[in-house]
C-alpha cells in the first residue's frame, strides 16, 4: 500500500515538474532569443540545485527526529512522511523537471552547428549541475540545522 502511495506522489510530482519545465521553456521562448537548448541547460541546473537541497534537507530532518525522539512509532511515521516528501519532490518534481532525453537530442543539433557549442553544452551541463547539486546539498543541510 505504501508503495502505491509513493507511486502516486511520484506521479503528482512528475506532472508538476514536467509542466514547470514546459513553463520555463515557454518563458525563455517568449522573453529571450536564445536557442532551445539554453532553456534545457537552465532547468537542469536549477533542478539539480533543488534536488540537492530537498534531499539534504529531508534526510537531515529524519536524522534530527532520530536523535530527539525515541518513540519508534513516531519515528516510523516521520520517516514515512519524509519518504513521501522525497517521492513527491525529488523523484517526482525534480526528476521530471530536469530532462536527459532532450539534452541528448539537443546535443545532436549542436554537433551539426558547432563542435565548440556541443562541448560547451556537454561539459558545461555536467560541471554546472554538479556544482549546483553540491551547493543545494550544503544549503539543505544548513536548513535542517
Amino acid at each position: 500500500m505504501s508503495t502505491l502511495i509513493a507511486y502516486l506522489f511520484v506521479l503528482l510530482g512528475g506532472a508538476a515538474g514536467a509542466l514547470s519545465r514546459f513553463g520555463v521553456q515557454e518563458l525563455f521562448r517568449a522573453f529571450t532569443r536564445w536557442p532551445g537548448w539554453v532553456a534545457v541547460f537552465f532547468v537542469n541546473v536549477l533542478g539539480s540545485f533543488l534536488i540537492g537541497l530537498v534531499v539534504a534537507w529531508l534526510q537531515g530532518l529524519i536524522a534530527l527526529e532520530h536523535s530527539e525522539r525515541l518513540d519508534p512509532l513516531q519515528l516510523y511515521i516521520d520517516t514515512q512522511d519524509a519518504d513521501h516528501g522525497l517521492a513527491l519532490l525529488a523523484a517526482g518534481f525534480c526528476g521530471a523537471f530536469t530532462t536527459f532525453s532532450s539534452f541528448s537530442l539537443d546535443n545532436h543539433f549542436l554537433a551539426k552547428e558547432s563542435r565548440a557549442l556541443l562541448l560547451f553544452n556537454m561539459l558545461g551541463s555536467l560541471i554546472t549541475c554538479l556544482a549546483a547539486v553540491a551547493l543545494g546539498w550544503s544549503v539543505g543541510k544548513a536548513m535542517a540545522g
Binding site: 519545465r21 533542478g47 521530471a96 530536469t98 543539433f109 554538479l130
Partner: protein, 178 residues
C-alpha cells in the same frame, strides 16, 4: 493546440513518465542488483534512445511544410527516398498542413516533453554523481558522468537509425509504390 490541452497532455505524460522511471529504476536496482546510479543511467540512456526514435517518427510524419529541424542533421540523407523529404509537399491543402501541425504538437507534447522528459532526469543523475564523489568513489563518479552523456548521445543516434528504418517502411499514402 490551445494552452489547456497542452497542460493536460504534458502533465499526464510527465506524471506517467516519472512513475515509469521510478518503476524501471526500482526493477534495475532490486531485480538486477545494480547500484542506484547505474539504474538511473540505464533509464536515461533508454530515454535518449526513445527520444531519437520518437522525434524522427514525428518529424517525418507531421512536417508536410518541410520545416523539420532534422533536415540539418546527417540522418536526413537517409530519408531522401521518403516522399516529400526534406522540402515537404507544397501541393498539400492548408487545412492538412494545419492538422499535421496540431498532431505534431500533440504527439511531441505527450511523448517528448511529457513521457520522455519525465522519465529521464538530470537532477537524480547529478545527485547520484555527487553521492559517489562524497563516498570517495571518484572513478565511478567520472565513469557515471562521462559515460551517461556519451552513451546518451550515441543512444539518440541509434534511435534515429531505428526511426529511419521504421519511417521508410511506413506505407506511403500519397504515392503508393507501383
Amino acid at each position: 493546440m490551445d494552452l489547456l490541452s497542452k497542460i493536460l497532455v504534458i502533465g499526464a505524460g510527465g506524471g506517467f513518465g516519472a512513475a515509469i522511471r521510478h518503476m524501471l529504476a526500482g526493477i534495475l536496482e532490486g531485480g538486477l542488483n545494480l547500484p542506484a546510479f547505474a539504474a538511473v543511467m540505464g533509464v536515461n540512456v533508454l530515454g535518449a534512445f526513445l527520444i531519437g526514435f520518437v522525434f524522427l517518427l514525428i518529424e517525418t510524419r507531421f512536417r508536410p511544410e518541410g520545416n523539420s529541424r532534422l533536415k540539418d542533421l546527417p540522418v536526413s540523407r537517409d530519408l531522401e527516398t521518403l516522399d516529400g523529404w526534406p522540402e515537404g509537399d507544397p501541393t498539400l491543402p492548408a487545412v492538412d498542413v494545419f492538422q499535421a501541425k496540431q498532431s505534431a504538437e500533440l504527439y511531441s507534447g505527450f511523448f517528448i516533453t511529457g513521457i520522455l522528459g519525465g522519465m529521464t532526469t538530470f537532477s537524480l543523475f547529478s545527485l547520484l554523481t555527487l553521492n559517489l564523489v562524497q563516498s570517495g568513489e571518484i572513478a565511478w563518479a567520472v565513469f557515471n558522468a562521462i559515460g551517461t552523456v556519451i552513451l546518451g548521445f550515441l543512444a539518440t543516434q541509434l534511435g534515429f537509425r531505428f526511426g529511419c528504418r521504421w519511417a521508410l517502411n511506413r506505407p506511403n499514402q500519397s504515392n503508393p509504390p507501383e
